[in-house]
Symmetry: C2
């Protein structure tokens, strides 16, 4: 398997990206190519002892930053790590591209360079939400406005990924809504609910936001606006907890002792809520495997994203989605008839 | 001031409702009427010593449950506590109605019995979100689908309530979006952003969900779908934290000791995250004061909701919203011109 990793994206590049790659090849047999600023990457690589036959660098001269406008950046910066990496997947020189860079540019590159699977309307970002029972959140931010059949596409693609990559058997799929009844929510969600019932999915109906974190469904479907709110708000609430806890802990010596005794457990707890255990988020619905890592990914998250790329590629998730297109086409025609 | 309280709504009625009313009249000079099953309510009242000239009961024979369909229930159950209470506000026999009952029925009753303020399109539920810096979330669940000018209405009504009832000076108002730039999000939110700039509001632009819990804005505006997700997901994440913590605490004796030392602080912390400190959520945009309490409200939450009704009524929030209608009308005509 050939993996290409963006050496330039994210808050800790290339230091943590390179370390993550070195750590990953020790646990797998794949070949990794890092694309990006050769001087900087080589400087990092020199710190480590690793199998040089399985880790190489392709130099690029441009960088797409988080301030760049996605469409313009992908068009103009032909020698950026994102564009070069995407082209390698398109030209079958690599099996998967992994980046912690500008989300919009990764999405745009996946769409314009690799291209949509014919019949898929809206490729999507599927994030693994950590917790007691991790689940897949799809769409987690790509498409702010969706039609009912887009939500069904997300459910079908998310279900395949959950089964083949996350090892969930017959994954349960649910729609985020403001109540459990089929009559709740917007017209879009009500129609999506009816269309979902027509698929082969293990569709469980609507799920309220309160039940989302407990992992009541394996695949949680919503539009990208709501998905973004779910991901970001969860981070915000976690921050609020930690800040309140810190404020309280400043208040007494005895309490500090208590916190010290508990600190190992609190760390374990935050590990269970840590996205980096789960690596990256796949872009589903394009003709190649692409993984978007969190911008603040450190070496562990990078390593985990690379390791998770293996079942994504080897279990032919992209081809399996392609094979489901006929099911999606039939859903689309039903939506047209009903709408 | 005359307050009417629904003795029958919520998970702990009438026990906790009655206790909350008794506790409240000790801290204010208002008169409280409890509507509901007379026998049950009197049985509870007998437990307490209180000023009988300021707390009376109006018996009703019917109850609207959470399983009732709101519109049908409000139409048919004329002698339910919700319908009787709403009629008292409509007929100026009471200044405010407070209930922990069926949210849909309260909203329906407010709309059909008390009626919209002329010029207000969509009355709304505004919830106080607790935390380090509490803020007002509006819409927190009433209107799943909104037009741009509805969001502006929510901002104007929320701003008045925040200033007059929560004591926030020149409250800052922000729109929930998936990025800070004016070009982000759905078409509805992009238009609302432009319309917001035309108002007298202290409009701060877009706010991402991650920043919402920290109280970066005093009034957080979104449609009722997103508002429901924000409220419910926050509860869900809090539950997830507590469950993880409990799981960890079972694992070692020393950790239990640490937790014991910290327990007072953890309790204080959960108090800061406790909605019951802030009582109820006002329904804004109708021709009378109505407060919806959380279904699981206990006596403290009931008491706080009653106490907060005082500035809501005495500062003429309903009339102030009425006076802003001309501003809202001008926004509506701008939306029509642009749309």
């Amino acid at each position: 398997m050939k993996i290409v990793v963006d050496g330039m994206g994210g808050d800790h590049s290339p230091t943590e990206i390179v370390k993550g790659c070195v750590d990953a090849i020790k646990e797998m047999t794949a070949h990794i190519t890092i694309v990006g600023d050769e001087t900087q990457i080589q400087l990092e690589l020199e710190k480590y002892d690793y199998d040089k036959s399985r880790l190489s660098v392709i130099p690029t001269s441009e960088v797409i930053t988080n301030d760049d406008k996605p469409v313009k950046a992908v068009r103009k910066k032909k020698d950026s790590s994102i564009v070069v990496g995407m082209n390698m997947v398109k030209d079958k020189e690599a099996d998967v591209f992994i980046s912690a860079g500008n989300t919009g540019a990764i999405m745009t590159g996946a769409l314009f360079i690799i291209g949509r699977i014919s019949g898929i309307d809206r490729p999507v970002i599927a994030s693994i939400f950590p917790g007691i029972k991790p689940f897949l959140l799809v769409d987690s931010g790509a498409n702010a406005e969706c039609k009912p059949h887009n939500l069904v596409e997300f459910g079908i693609m998310g279900s395949i990924y959950s089964e083949k990559v996350l090892g969930m058997e017959n994954p349960s799929v649910a729609l985020v809504n403001i109540g459990e009844e089929a009559s709740k929510g917007t017209q879009t969600i009500q129609t999506a609910f009816e269309l979902m019932k027509e698929t082969h999915l293990n569709f469980q109906g609507n799920i309220e936001a309160r039940e989302v974190p407990e992992g009541k469904a394996n695949v949680v479907v919503c539009d990208g606006f709501v998905g973004n709110v779910i991901l970001k708000l969860s981070e915000g609430i976690a921050d609020l907890f930690i800040n309140l806890l810190k404020k309280k802990l400043k208040e007494s010596f005895l309490v500090k002792i208590g916190a010290l005794i508990m600190s190992g457990k609190l760390k374990e707890m935050s590990k269970e809520l840590d996205y980096s255990e789960y690596g990256g988020a796949p872009i589903l619905g394009v003709k190649g495997a692409v993984i978007k890592m969190h911008g603040s990914s450190k070496a562990k998250a990078v390593k985990n994203a690379i390791l998770r790329a293996q079942p994504y590629v080897e279990n032919n998730v992209v081809e399996m989605i392609h094979d489901e297109v006929s099911q999606i086409e039939s859903i689309k025609s039903k939506e047209m008839k009903d709408g």
